[in-house]
């Protein structure tokens, strides 16, 4: 970015709360059902129906509020947000306006080693709309109302972010948090976690905000960064070209890497909110907060700190291994079952295990090597049964079979030779058979030793301990 300009970014993130039924009706929320088979009379907005609030949606909202140190409104109110669109059958969305359930919290992010606190203005409960399908219906639009009435928690940040990088860090942190809290499955492809970004630019040093544009429905971390960066550039170009940024909603097109204007009509944003007479105020009592607070899991930041202290991890490893609750739990299960130095577990988890998962495109929950089987392998490294190099071979076999590390080591004959006499015999044989590298080494060419070690490892089929072989060779070749 041009250094005379500063970007100001705020995010609105819609998280779909993982309830079984809808926020105001008893219809199912399961993803992927046949169109309109999960849309009941309430979701369709048929005359005469009344919404009844889902207790679990309220609990999940309160859980989130407590986790970000927010104020939980003792008394919160639902409002109607009025607009006309066919995927919104009632002609209004039930949302919250003046008295949201969660107010004024914060989340700490880290970018390039620098910590920053991002304010969260509010989080409110609302219902999702249905889905419009614009293709293939002889010029008509198809409407699927299965999603209508799905509970959402819209989390609105303060305009505290100053770069696309900070925005992504915030979004990732929030994504991690809602999954830790188990209030949202975080599935971005299915739309469970969606982001709108408010972006403006201003000359550096200026206090007032510039005019903002809202970029709608960005559904991946990668696109958020690209969309915001693109929008910052666009606004700077407009201003430097003597123009003015217009307040509007823009849509990010990932294929063209550009944003384009979406709603031009000003009145599209005139929602005429008013309290919904169909719903009474929601009261959150202290007792409920106390009860929920007691069930909060260890949160990501606390877990990260504990991993650093308890397992001697560096900050980067700790951040990686606590990035999801499942991964952290897996790690701790391995540490426990292994019983040896946690450092070995850390190295294997951040290296081979995550590498293999990444390559296979799998999550830790689908890891073909269970925590117990991995611990079994690490035990054999720790007690010198196999070398680190052989261990990688065994790991591959663990990945592709159900056998234990011990079975694999046994059946493949991978056990390290611990019989010093046997190794010594091979070392002597290799020295005798390779006079040239022996002479070179004695003449001061240290590299020649590697050739000899290689020969010995080959002779022992990799089952000798390379460190020991090295030591033995140097001893024998001493002039």
């Amino acid at each position: 970015m041009n250094s005379q300009w500063e970007a100001v970014i705020g995010l609105e993130i819609h998280t779909q709360l993982s309830t079984q039924s809808k926020i105001f009706s008893g219809a199912a929320t399961a993803y992927g059902a046949e169109p309109n088979t999960q849309a009941c009379a309430v979701d369709l907005g048929l005359p005469g129906v009344l919404p009844v609030l889902n207790k679990d949606a309220v609990r999940k909202a309160v859980t989130f509020g407590l986790a970000i140190d927010a104020e939980i409104a003792p008394h919160s109110v639902f409002a109607r947000k009025n607009y006309f669109y066919p995927d919104l059958p009632k002609g209004y969305q039930i949302s919250q306006f003046e008295l949201p359930i969660v107010g004024n919290g914060h989340l700490d992010i880290e970018v390039d080693g620098v910590e920053k606190r991002i304010g969260i203005t509010r989080a409110h409960l609302e219902e999702d709309a249905g889905k419009s399908l614009h293709e293939d219906f002889h010029g008509l639009t198809g409407i699927d109302l299965n999603r209508a009435g799905t509970p959402l928690l819209e989390i609105v940040s303060e305009p505290d972010m100053r770069s696309a990088k900070e925005a992504v860090a915030y979004m990732r942190k929030l994504h991690e948090l809602v999954r830790y809290l188990e209030i949202c499955d975080g599935n971005m492809q299915e739309g469970s976690f969606r982001c709108d970004a408010n972006v403006s630019v201003r000359p550096k040093g200026q206090k007032e905000f510039g005019t903002r544009a809202e970029i709608k429905n960005i559904n991946s971390f990668k696109f958020v960064e690209k969309a915001i960066n693109h929008e910052i550039e666009r606004q700077i170009d407009v201003i430097e070209g003597g123009g003015k940024v217009v307040q509007e909603t823009r849509l990010y097109d990932a294929n063209k890497d550009e944003t384009r204007s979406m709603r031009s009509k000003e009145e599209a944003n005139d929602y005429r909110y008013f309290p919904d007479p169909d719903l009474l105020p929601v009261l959150i009592e202290e007792a409920l907060k106390t009860e929920i607070r007691a069930t909060l899991p260890e949160l990501p930041d606390a877990k990260k700190q504990r991993f650093i202290e308890q397992y001697g991890q560096d900050a980067e490893s700790a951040a990686t291994l606590t990035s999801s609750r499942e991964l952290a739990d897996f790690y701790e299960t391995v540490v426990k079952a292994f019983g040896g130095e946690a450092k070995l577990v850390t190295n294997w988890m951040t290296g081979d295990v995550l590498g293999a998962l990444n390559k296979a495109g799998l999550e830790i929950a689908d890891c073909p090597v269970s925590a117990e089987r991995l611990a079994g392998l690490l035990k054999r490294i720790a007690d010198n049964t196999i070398s680190g190099k052989t261990a990688k071979q065994v790991f591959d076999k663990l990945w592709n079979s159900d056998a234990s590390a011990d079975d694999i080591i046994e059946s493949e004959g991978l056990k390290q030779i611990t019989d010093t006499g046997a190794i010594e015999a091979i070392v002597d044989k290799v020295i005798a058979a390779n006079p040239v590298p022996v002479e070179q080494y004695r003449a001061g060419k240290d590299k020649a030793l590697m050739a000899l070690v290689g020969q010995i490892m080959k002779e022992t089929q990799g089952k000798a301990n390379p460190g020991e072989v090295n030591k033995m060779l140097m001893e024998k070749l001493k002039v």
Partner: protein, 95 residues
């Protein structure tokens, strides 16, 4: 406060109400006097009064998170003007 004819048209459009051109003047007058009443009410001293969100002094009852509805799509779609492949069809709307 007095509403103009164009205010009335805008309000009607937002609510998707069709109004008779000849009635606009009448609506403008009626709505303006309602707003005047609001202004008058707004002058009342309400210091220390908690805003009322609902006339009933009760709290919202909550329901347990269980699926209680069954699929009644065919039934609901009998009153829809047009359906296809389980979808409700409506005139094309483009953003």
């Amino acid at each position: 406060m007095s509403l103009s004819a164009s205010d009335v048209k805008k309000i009607a459009h937002l609510a998707r109400l069709g109004i008779d051109e000849q009635q606009i003047e009448h609506y403008a007058k009626d709505l303006s006097s309602m707003l005047d009443l609001m202004t008058q009410m707004g002058q009342t001293n309400t210091d220390g009064v908690v805003p009322m969100a609902h006339p009933l002094d009760q709290m919202q009852r909550l329901r347990d998170d269980v699926v209680s509805e069954t699929d009644q799509r065919d039934h609901f779609q009998t009153i829809a003007p047009q359906t296809e492949a389980g979808l409700y069809l409506v005139p094309k709307v483009i953003d």
